[in-house]
Each structure stands twice: as structure tokens, then as C-alpha cells.
């Protein structure tokens, strides 16, 4: 018969070991993190609850782990190196740092995983719509590794250009592959303008389809509306100042936006997510970038020759 005191002591020792253990894990927004301590697998809720990214965690108790430090790229790279890589092309944001992507080469994915289909990629910290990336497969989830520097950046630019003009029929350019066409269609179907057109043309059919929509499609649709809200907020602020939003990227605590002034001059700026204040304007404001918001930035840049900073 087992000695109950010995068992209690063992459990107490494991609890102490648990709280003294730091572990390294990826975490999606609203998700959990998992680690094995003393041969027991623990699943923790992260603290803060809305944390998203790679983190070094320390258990607070058996159910919660606190994010104590941001790991270095070296640690993340060593972790990712253990997983299978695949080249994908980003289609659109599902939620936060989670994107829908499509393989750059369908047969490559087919050979490696036995199936070629869109993939949900987590913790995409770089890249934008139609940019090629390398993602890593851990057997259940795709994790973003890096932007694929071998990819031709002009392909993404051409696809984005078509998407801006909403040319949904027979897009074609030199070097275009069927995979590019597919990822273009995925992104196109998410644009408000495309959906409005479809609504007008096929309202009856769309209602029938809506009833048959799968749970998966609903999951994809729900977060997309959030992304449209962010885009709309940025676009509106720029429009009020006379500018035009061309692209935007989620960079964690800020938006990186590409926009044009009323005379078509192109700028890249970094904007605080909460207040839409300027983190990095694009021109020199003597460290006073934070004094401006996105709407006023347009005027500041357009009239920069008259400013005396």
C-alpha cells in the first residue's frame, strides 16, 4: 500500500517545482499555453489574459501562468527550427496576428502534408496582404517564422494593385501562378466592395447560401468584420485630413500604415492603436510626433515646408 505522506510530499515538491519553472511558449489571443513540469502536462491561462505573441511564462498556480519576459529572436528561431517549414502567401487577417494564407506551391504542401488547402497562421508579426512568408507546422498549428526573402515583392504589389481596383475578372500578369489566383480570390472575397456587388447581383442566392454556411466560415467571417472596423477607422481619420489609406499592418502595439497625401505622395507611418496618435510620422517633427494624431498628420506633412520645428 502506498505511503500517503510520501505521496503528499511528492505532490508538494512538484507544486514548488511548478512555480519555480519558467517556460517558453507561443500564445494566440484568447488562447492557452502548455508546458510539461515533472512529467505532468499543465495547461495555463496566460496573464495578461489578452496576451498574444511569444512569451517566457512562469506559473502563478496550476491554472495561470504570468508572462515574465519577451524572448529573443534567437530563442524563437531555435524553437521554430524544430518544426516543418512551408512557403505560404498571406491572404487576409482573421484576428489580431492570425492570418489566412495559401501555399505558394500547392503540390509542395500536398507532398508534405497530404493536402493542399488554405492555412491559418498564428503570430504573424511581419508581412502584409499577398506577401510570401515561411510558416512552421507543429502537427496541429501553423506558426509564422519570417517573411520569405526569396519571394518576388513585385508579385505582391501587382496583386494588391488589382485588389485596390477590384478587378475580379481574369487578372493576369507575367509569372502568375494558379496559387496566386487562389490567394487573390480569397482576399477579394473579403473586401466590402466585392461583397456589396455580390449582394446586389445575387441577393436571393446569397440568402440561401448564408443558411448553409458552415461553422468554419462563420468563424472566419466574424473576426474579419473586426479588421474592417480597424481599417475603416484608419481610413476615416486619413480621409478627414485629405489623405488616403493604401495599406495597413498590425504590428502589435501600433498600426503601420501606408498612405498617400492629396497630391499622391506616398508615406509610411506608425500609429498608436488606441488613440491614433503618431508614433513615427515619416518626417522630422523634432520628437514631437506624439503631439499629432493621424488626421492632423496629413495636414502637417502636406504643409511641412511652412513648419518651423
Amino acid at each position: 500500500m502506498a505511503d500517503i505522506r510520501k505521496l503528499i510530499n511528492e505532490i508538494a515538491a512538484q507544486e514548488v517545482q511548478l512555480r519555480d519553472t519558467e517556460f517558453f511558449a507561443p500564445c494566440v489571443r484568447g488562447g492557452k499555453v502548455r508546458s510539461r513540469v515533472a512529467n505532468i502536462i499543465y495547461t495555463f491561462s496566460p496573464q495578461p489574459q489578452d496576451f498574444e505573441g511569444w512569451g517566457i511564462f512562469q506559473p502563478v498556480n496550476e491554472k495561470t501562468a504570468e508572462m515574465v519576459e519577451e524572448p529573443s529572436l534567437v530563442q524563437v528561431a531555435e524553437y521554430l527550427k524544430l518544426l516543418k517549414p512551408l512557403r505560404l502567401r498571406l491572404a487576409y487577417v482573421l484576428q489580431g496576428q492570425t492570418w489566412l494564407a495559401y501555399p505558394v506551391n500547392e503540390s509542395d504542401m500536398q507532398q508534405r502534408l497530404g493536402v493542399a488547402k488554405p492555412a491559418i497562421v498564428h503570430l504573424v508579426t511581419e508581412g502584409g496582404v499577398f506577401e510570401p512568408i515561411i510558416a512552421r507546422w507543429d502537427g496541429g498549428v501553423w506558426w509564422f517564422d519570417e517573411v520569405d526573402r526569396r519571394g518576388d515583392p513585385l508579385v505582391g504589389e501587382q496583386l494588391r494593385s488589382h485588389l485596390r481596383s477590384l478587378s475580379d475578372q481574369n487578372i493576369r500578369f507575367a509569372g502568375m501562378t494558379p496559387e496566386m489566383r487562389t490567394v487573390y480570390d480569397l482576399a477579394l472575397q473579403q473586401t466590402e466592395e466585392y461583397q456589396r456587388r455580390r449582394q446586389q447581383q445575387q441577393s436571393m442566392e446569397r440568402q440561401r447560401r448564408t443558411r448553409q454556411t458552415t461553422k468554419q466560415a462563420r468563424r472566419v467571417e466574424r473576426p474579419r468584420r473586426k479588421a474592417d472596423g480597424d481599417e475603416g477607422r484608419l481610413q476615416e481619420a486619413l480621409r478627414m485630413g485629405g489623405g488616403d489609406l493604401r495599406e495597413f499592418r498590425d504590428r502589435g502595439d501600433y498600426w503601420q500604415i501606408e498612405w498617400t497625401t492629396s497630391n499622391g505622395e506616398w508615406h509610411t507611418s506608425a500609429i498608436d492603436k488606441k488613440e491614433l496618435t503618431v508614433i513615427s510620422s515619416g518626417i522630422c517633427l523634432s520628437g514631437r510626433d506624439r503631439d499629432f494624431d493621424l488626421q492632423s498628420l496629413v495636414g502637417v506633412i502636406e504643409a511641412r515646408d511652412n513648419w518651423d520645428f
Binding site: 528561431a77 509610411t268 507611418s269 506608425a270 513615427s280 515619416g282 523634432s286
Partner: protein, 213 residues
Amino acid sequence: MSIFFHEQLHRTPALMAQLRDFPVTICGAGALGANITENLARSGFGKLVTIDRDRIEERNLSTQPYYRSDVGAYKVKILTNTIYRALGVAVDGRSKELTSANVAQLLAGSGIVIDTFDNSTSRQVVKDYCTNANIPCLHVGLASDYAEVIWNEIYRVPSPANDDVCDYPLARNLVMLTVAVACEVIVTFVVSGNKESFTVTLGDFAVKPFDNF
């Protein structure tokens, strides 16, 4: 074959081993600091620390090794990521403002400190600390079409009146020429302990020993 194959043929394996283990701290990750960090890493230096608090601006892209897609991110973070991805060299990047309160902590353990800051206050903090702690320190600076690479012992911190962070001319070729001179001065110091100071002008392509009047 080593990624430093050509450099090794030029410098010898013994020197390359010396460079790999020599701790260098670069203060600043702007035009001078970021390019010096990258150049040292690609030359075989393996123990690099870079300190800078700034984020990447669109106007930095012409003289600093960053991409359009990096705008808004901390310079040090992008610099260390880029060098790790390119070479597998892990630079210790610190996105912090160097002040008199933390200078001892940030510069401790340096075999040499490279000062590339763009303001007199920070340069003075680095100069004073390195003088007191007896750490070799090389100051690298630019002014219009002139640059200087000067050791701490004979360096004079410029007047704060010239610290306008916006309106100054900056020629990329002068930056790169100065970076090359500074890196060669650093290698010479590691090899021989010699401290060479230089001034550089782009107008007449001159690189001259610095006269300490």
C-alpha cells in the same frame, strides 16, 4: 566553409578568433551605429551589444540598414533580428535610453565602447563613464561634409547648440566611408592596441590622421 572565409584569408584565422571573442558595445543604432554594428558582425565580431531607444522613421531609410516595412519598430530590435537572420550572430540589443543612471550597468564588460550618439548630452555621459572606468572608447561623429573617428583621450564633446535632430545634411557616402574607417580603427585596436584617430571629408575624399592641437 566559414561565412567569414574571405575576411579570414585577409585577416588570418588567429585574428578572426580574437575578433569573435572581443566584446564591443555600440551606443546608437542610427546611420553610424547601425551600419557599424552590421559591418562589425559581417567582419566576424561575435560579441556585440547595441544600445538605442529610437524607433525607425521613414527618413532613416536612406542611410540606415532598415526596410520600409520596419517603420515604427525599435531600431535595435530590427537590427538584431536582421543580423541574426543574415549571419546567425546574436547581437545583444537594448532598446533603452542611456543615461548617467544606467550607463554603468549598460557599458559594463565592454572591451571597447563605440559612441555614435547624435546628441551631446549622451556623448558626454559615455565619455565621462569610459574615462572613469578606464574603458577604451571611440567616438564617431558627422557634421555636414566632415566626419571624425576619435579616441576618448583626445575627444572634445561638441557644443549642444549643434544638436538639431531634424535639419542637417547627411550624405550616405560620407556615412559609409566613416563606418569603414571606424571599423578598421576598431580592428587595429583589437590587433595591436594602437589608437588611431582620423578625420574624414567627402569633398576631397581625404582620410587624415587627427591633429590634436
